[in-house]
């Protein structure tokens, strides 16, 4: 665990997100954003882990994250996504959705655009009529937000008004949203349902509803497999990881017992999707690795050296992916590691990109691991 560096930031961290690196760059990310919650004065902060710190004797990076700039945010930061290299979309507990711009030349943050009370209860005009916006997802320039009011909003970064709004899309609270394809989105709600919405249809009804059977355990997070778009992972209130195959059935393919409390986030590794990361209210962060099954399969590409191993993963991706859908535990082993042994308070958010992991906790600390697969 010596690769992990921690920094106490004097605010409870609700979200942490890597800034996407420029398309052409192969370097690992060097900058991330965090948002805080439950403070009288909440903030969006940009941190650097790259160039500013000192470099240790063996060339390894030693320093802790350095604050580049921060800005006040009205309300708890409920969700946060980078729209592009410079802009961050932030969902607030007040119902506002704001785009902040990070000016990299003079290291400042400014509010670029704001949709006030994009989510609201009965009376939008009232002082406290806003409803918490719980989730946001971007596909530049499109932005989709969901909230406690069961509403789905579609925005475009350059347009002042919402492109489309589905009122009463859900009778319970929507907890998270993600893109399935460019024209379809997935939402999860507090009664254990997964809904697919086809944006091409004008009907304000989901095109498909999937649900957990039995106890209607609320789902808190959702992520889609980066390559195989029919594979979806969700995390629920009971800490169970559910894997769904949206091509078939209306129930999850597998339910994997994981955390002891709410699973707040689930992320497939964007470029290495046989790895999955989950974090929870119980203070743990798990690394799910299905790549071990690969090594058992004959592969002439295994000739030593890290690069060839990596290549091997990609070429037989098809069989790796089926590991997520396989119901047979003996055939495809899954290796699970808890990355935080002695944590007590909730890990609210995590993000993975390349070899780097960042996560933030209610113990007011952010952690960065830059050698995830070392």
């Amino acid at each position: 665990m010596e690769d992990v560096c921690a920094k106490f930031v004097s605010q409870k961290v609700s979200k942490a997100r890597w800034r996407p690196p420029p398309a052409a760059a192969l370097r690992p990310p060097d900058c991330f954003a965090t948002g805080s919650w439950d403070n009288e004065d909440n903030r969006i902060s940009i941190w650097s882990v790259g160039d500013l710190g000192s470099v240790g004797l063996n060339g390894e990076y030693q320093g802790e994250p350095q604050l580049l700039c921060d800005i006040r945010h009205n309300g708890d930061v409920m969700d946060m996504q980078f729209l592009d290299q410079e802009r961050i979309v932030v969902a607030s507990s007040t119902g506002d959705v704001t785009i902040f711009r990070h000016h990299q030349n003079n290291q400042t943050l400014s509010a670029n655009q704001r949709w006030e009370k994009a989510h609201y209860h009965v009376d939008r005009g009232a002082a406290c009529g806003g409803a918490a916006c719980t989730g946001v997802i971007c596909n530049n320039p499109e932005i989709v937000t969901v909230g406690e009011d069961g509403r789905i909003n579609f925005f475009r970064a350059d347009q002042k008004d919402a492109v489309r709004t589905i009122d009463n899309a859900d009778s319970s609270t929507l907890h998270a949203v993600t893109f399935l394809r460019t024209t379809e989105i997935l939402t999860v709600n507090s009664i254990g349902q997964l809904k697919i919405w086809d944006l091409r249809q004008q009907r304000n009804e989901p095109s498909q509803i999937f649900s957990l059977t039995g106890d209607r355990v609320p789902l808190h997070c959702v992520d889609r497999h980066p390559n195989q778009q029919h594979i979806v992972a969700t995390g629920g209130q009971d800490g169970v990881l559910s894997i769904w195959d949206i091509r078939q059935g209306t129930m999850p393919v597998s339910l994997l017992n994981a955390h002891e409390a709410e699973m707040w986030e689930v992320h497939f590794h964007p470029s290495n999707p046989d790895h999955l990361f989950t974090c929870s209210e119980d203070g743990s962060l798990w690394h799910w690795d299905t790549s071990t099954s690969v090594s058992e399969k004959p592969s002439f590409l295994h000739q030593g050296g890290k690069s060839s191993t990596f290549f091997a993963h990609n070429t037989i991706n098809q069989s790796v992916v089926s590991a997520w859908l396989s119901n047979d535990p003996t055939k495809d082993r899954m290796e699970i590691t808890n990355l935080i042994p002695n944590q007590t308070l909730s890990v609210n958010s995590l993000d993975v990109l390349g070899p780097c992991l960042v996560y933030g906790t209610d113990a007011e600390a952010i952690y960065v691991n830059r050698h995830l697969f070392a």
Binding site: S10, K12, N39, E40, V122, S171, S172, I191, D215
Partner: protein
């Protein structure tokens, strides 16, 4: 009841004219509300946090600017440090250490246990130090003089806390014995007397140190702190720069080299050490008497210090800066094998000698003195009075309790001292808008009153988002606090209901297993249906599952919706059966029967026969029960529509009965 040890300090609430008006107050968990009992004038509220000790209350909100006014409510808080932004790092990091310490409690025993406790103590100290550095940085970069002085005060408080903690670690946690005790105390002094460090740096970085005007001061500092190697290094510089003093330097260097010191590692006995010490002492004495250093006053005074001459040491008062430095230096050169229990005598006399009646002892001096006297309870008490937070005493007491040093002490109130202090600290955390989560674990480790405190505090957390409510709920559910779970769910359900989010409200009441509330919401759904003719929130009602059984009304809602679905899917006979069952099994509320019967109309009018003869009779009985139940007066009030409905139903039922008798008769006959 014991009498208070000290007169409680008087706290003047600014803006209150206490001479002219009466004050009333209300106790809160961690704060107190104060207001004047006579009302008049208007005034806003502003926040102005001053500082004082946990022993004293401190006021927070003041009256309107300028003139005093009596319409203000003042919040008086007990633990003000909880609100210092930079200290949040201290609270969070030490929380982790605290929880770790409680967990490790059962596992360790014997020697490894002590080592572990020392390590824990060191971890606490490093957290204090880290916080101190942050605070120092903040002070340096602060432009505003008021802010700067505020940070500087915090730095000095933290530094005092670390000083006390370190001493307690040596004396109580590690319980160093004669020999190692002195080494630890020397480390302690070197770590904390850092006023002289700048001077040392200045001299060492100058081109020609031995010519520097402060050169001998630095040598003295090294000698006083027992840093012999460094002192000898400087002496060699003097020797090479000044050949005249070469011999003197050599002799002094030799004395310093040969000085016997207690060691931590090897098995040297105390008697052995004392013997060597005696021998070395005599040697120093000889050189002093034969006037070897007579020509150099600096070296002569150093030699006197080596001999433990108290006056010679006291002459360097400026360099010693504090009485406890004087104490340790004195021990080093007079009583290197001092036993823990002898410390109190030397400490007292050192303080008297050093202060010399010029200045009186400050709170810090009193605390350190109590520690040297091994009066643990006195240390904690003095710290509680002097420091501006509960953090220090709570954590220190807990650690000392784990060292099994506080067993015998019970308070005449509450449980024991450890628990009392932890409860106070955690209550302070709970009054903070963001740090409340930390408080939970502290309450968990208070066996006697922790749970009650937690129950009272957790209900008072403002729930502005569902996510926060979920976090609070999780805390309650993990501890089987059913009452609190119910209350939180009810609050959330009520909020959702007020926002017209019936689906959410129902979800919350199902989670709370609150049947009455579920009935209330079900009625709202049914009412909406009657008004609009269609159901809202179908996604929820269709997926009720087993939770449908929570309340009768909810069961009805679920079943009634099922009827609609069956009807929509054209499964008429199943739909009819269900509809009838809703009435005959008395699942449907009477007020809803007319709607149900009206729903039966289209089924009765279908081409094919759906209700059997028996079912039709049942339906007729239901209709008659309904109309008979109403008094004549009510009947008069019913409008024409209602009467027409009944007539239509009777007609439809009769026609259906006719058809079904014919059909059933034919079927049976054939």
């Amino acid at each position: 009841m014991e009498e208070p040890d000290a007169e409680p300090p008087l706290m003047v609430v600014p803006g209150v004219d206490s001479a002219a008006r009466q004050l009333c107050f209300e106790w809160g968990p961690a704060e107190m509300l104060v207001c004047e009992t006579l009302f008049g004038g208007r005034g806003g509220c502003r926040r102005a946090p001053p500082r004082a000790s946990p022993g004293k209350p401190r006021f927070l909100a003041g009256a309107g600017e300028g003139r005093p006014s009596s319409s203000s409510v003042f919040v008086v808080r007990k633990d003000q440090d909880v609100y210092v932004q930079t200290l949040r790092k201290l609270f969070n990091e030490s929380h982790g250490i605290f929880v770790g310490l409680q967990r490790s409690e059962e596992e360790l025993a014997g020697k490894s246990r002590k080592a572990h406790l020392v390590q824990v103590s060191k971890n606490y100290r490093s957290v204090i130090r880290a916080c101190m550095e942050d605070m120092h940085q903040a002070a340096v970069s602060a432009r505003d003089p008021a802010l700067h002085s505020q940070y500087s005060t915090q730095v000095s408080i933290l530094s005092a806390m670390e000083l006390i903690w370190n001493l307690c670690e040596i004396l109580f946690v590690e319980a160093a014995v004669a020999g190692p005790l002195l080494i630890r105390l020397l480390d302690w002094v070197r770590l904390h007397v850092c006023d002289v460090n700048n001077m040392v740096r200045e001299v060492l970085s100058s081109e020609n140190p031995s010519k520097h005007e402060l050169f001998w001061n630095v040598v003295d500092v090294f000698v006083l702190q027992g840093r012999m190697d460094e002192a000898r290094h400087l002496l060699s510089k003097e020797a090479s720069a000044n050949p005249a003093s070469l011999t003197m330097c050599r002799v002094l260097d030799d004395l310093m080299k040969k000085m016997p010191v207690p060691s931590l590692g090897n098995m040297q006995t105390l008697t052995e050490l004392e013997l060597k010490w005696q021998h070395w002492h005599e040697e120093c004495q000889r050189y002093l008497q034969d006037g070897t250093f007579a020509s150099n006053s600096h070296m002569e005074s150093i030699c006197k210090v080596l001999l433990g001459d108290e006056n010679a040491i006291l002459e360097k008062k400026e360099l010693l800066t504090t009485w406890y430095h004087f104490l340790v230096t004195r021990l080093l050169y007079c009583h290197p094998t001092v036993k823990p229990m002898e410390l109190r005598f030397y400490a007292q006399s050192s303080m008297d000698l050093f202060l010399g009646g010029e200045s009186s002892a400050e709170p810090l001096d009193i605390i350190l003195m109590a520690a040297f006297e091994f009066e643990i309870h006195q240390v904690i008490k003095e710290c509680s009075i002097a420091l501006s937070n509960w953090w220090f005493v709570a954590h220190l007491t807990d650690l000392l309790d784990h060292c099994k040093l506080l067993q015998s002490h019970n308070l005449y109130f509450g449980s024991n001292m450890r628990e009392f202090l932890l409860l106070e600290y955690a209550s302070g955390l709970f009054s903070h808008h963001s740090l409340w989560q930390l408080g939970v674990d502290y309450f968990d480790h208070c066996p006697e009153y922790g749970r009650v405190y937690l129950e009272l505090h957790i209900e008072r957390i403002p729930l502005n988002t569902e996510q926060k409510a979920l976090k609070v709920l999780r805390i309650c559910e993990q501890r089987q606090m059913h009452e609190q779970v119910r209350s939180i769910c009810k609050i959330m359900a009520m909020k959702a209901l007020r926002n017209n989010r019936l689906g959410s409200a129902l979800s919350w009441s199902i989670r709370a297993k609150d049947a009455a509330f579920a009935t209330l919401i079900s009625d709202r759904f049914l009412k909406d249906y009657c008004e609009k003719g269609c159901f809202s929130d179908l996604d929820l009602i269709d997926n009720l599952g087993p939770s449908m059984l929570l309340s009768d009304r909810l069961t009805f809602l679920g079943k009634y919706r099922e009827f609609h679905r069956l009807y929509g899917e054209k499964r008429f006979s199943e739909a009819a059966k269900l509809l009838l069952m809703l009435m005959t099994a008395h699942i449907a509320p009477c007020s809803f029967w007319m709607t149900l019967l009206t729903d039966a109309l289209p089924l009765l009018e279908q081409k094919e026969i759906i209700f059997s003869a028996e079912q039709t009779y049942e339906l007729m009985r239901c209709l008659e029960d309904l109309t008979a139940g109403k008094s004549d007066k009510q009947k008069l009030q019913d409008d024409d529509v209602e009467t027409m409905k009944v007539e239509m139903l009777r007609l439809a039922l009769a026609r259906n009965l006719a058809r079904v008798i014919v059909k059933e008769g034919t079927l049976e006959g054939s």
